[in-house]
């Protein structure tokens, strides 16, 4: 069996033929350019993804109808070296401010036009608590439905 602890973390490494400054800028400042279009949570098609360039800045999507949906926030803003984002979408892809899984991206210049990008999405085990809350919410939903059914039946 491969290292089971690795199951709670996703790690990727890639080489980008671009200066570190540009790689950082495209990753954080032009996310809408490269983010897979169908992977978003809003009701209308995805128009842009925004990372506000500061600690505690918002990370959110903008839909074509102008609506916005939060995805998380900026935890570390250190251009052109390191970016840490809080991914706060639960297992049902709804924003949950009490859930924090971390996406860390490090940029290491290997040359003037060559950058190593180390990517990590960690704390995946925290989806557990979020899933538990989801289940409770669902129970509550059913409770309300049964209650109004009972009222209707009695009334």
């Amino acid at each position: 069996m491969s290292n089971p602890r690795a199951e709670m973390v996703i790690r990727k490494q890639l080489i980008v033929e671009a200066p570190a400054e540009r790689a950082y800028r495209v990753f954080s400042g032009s996310m809408g350019l490269w983010w897979p279009r169908e992977h978003h949570i809003g009701g209308s098609p995805l128009k842009d993804c925004i990372v506000e360039p500061r600690v505690n800045g918002r990370w959110y999507e903008v839909c074509e109808d102008g609506s916005q949906c939060d995805w998380g926030k900026v935890l570390t803003w250190d251009p052109p070296r390191r970016l840490v984002l809080a991914w706060q979408l639960n297992p049902e892809f709804k924003y949950d401010p009490s859930l924090v899984t971390e996406v860390e991206v490090s940029f290491t210049a290997l040359g003037p036009r060559r950058t190593q990008v180390d990517f990590e999405h960690r704390n995946l085990e925290r989806f557990g608590a979020a899933a538990e809350r989801l289940r409770k919410d669902m129970d509550q939903g059913w409770g309300q439905i049964l209650e109004s059914f009972a009222r209707a039946a009695v009334g």
């Binding site: 069996m1 491969s2 089971p4 602890r5 199951e7 709670m8 996703i10 990727k12 890639l14 980008v16 033929e17 671009a18 200066p19 400054e21 540009r22 790689a23 800028r25 495209v26 990753f27 032009s30 350019l33 490269w34 983010w35 897979p36 992977h39 297992p91 049902e92 990008v117 990517f119 999405h121 995946l124 085990e125 989806f127 557990g128 608590a129 979020a130 899933a131 538990e132 809350r133 989801l134 289940r135």
Partner: protein, 103 residues
């Protein structure tokens, strides 16, 4: 979706998560887990039942002993989804960064 939620919900309990994390380090018997954590054997067995039901752990029989280990397929559902997603996203990021000019 149901199984994915089940799996992650099973990890919401802090003691159960501890049990799971011990097993993530190495396969263990009920007795060995109970010795490492301030939890009784019956409680450990109960946590293992929930984790097994959620598809997070499996066990092998060694004589009369059951040795538990994590089932990477269970915990992997969300991870696998995100893993594939990030592969696609990072490939697209690389292409965008290499096409962009430094203006």
């Amino acid at each position: 979706m149901g199984n994915r939620i089940e799996g992650f919900a099973a990890l919401a309990d802090p003691t159960r998560r501890q049990v799971f994390e011990r097993l993530a380090r190495r396969p263990l018997s009920v007795g060995a887990i109970a010795a490492e954590l301030p939890v009784s054997r019956p409680a450990v067995s109960q946590h293992l039942r929930v984790l097994t039901h959620a598809g997070l752990v499996v066990h092998d029989r060694h004589g009369t002993r059951r040795v538990y280990r994590i089932d990477p397929r269970g915990i992997a559902a969300m991870r696998k989804y995100l893993d594939k997603f990030w592969d696609r996203a990072l490939a697209a990021f690389k292409a965008a960064a290499e096409k962009e000019t430094d203006s």
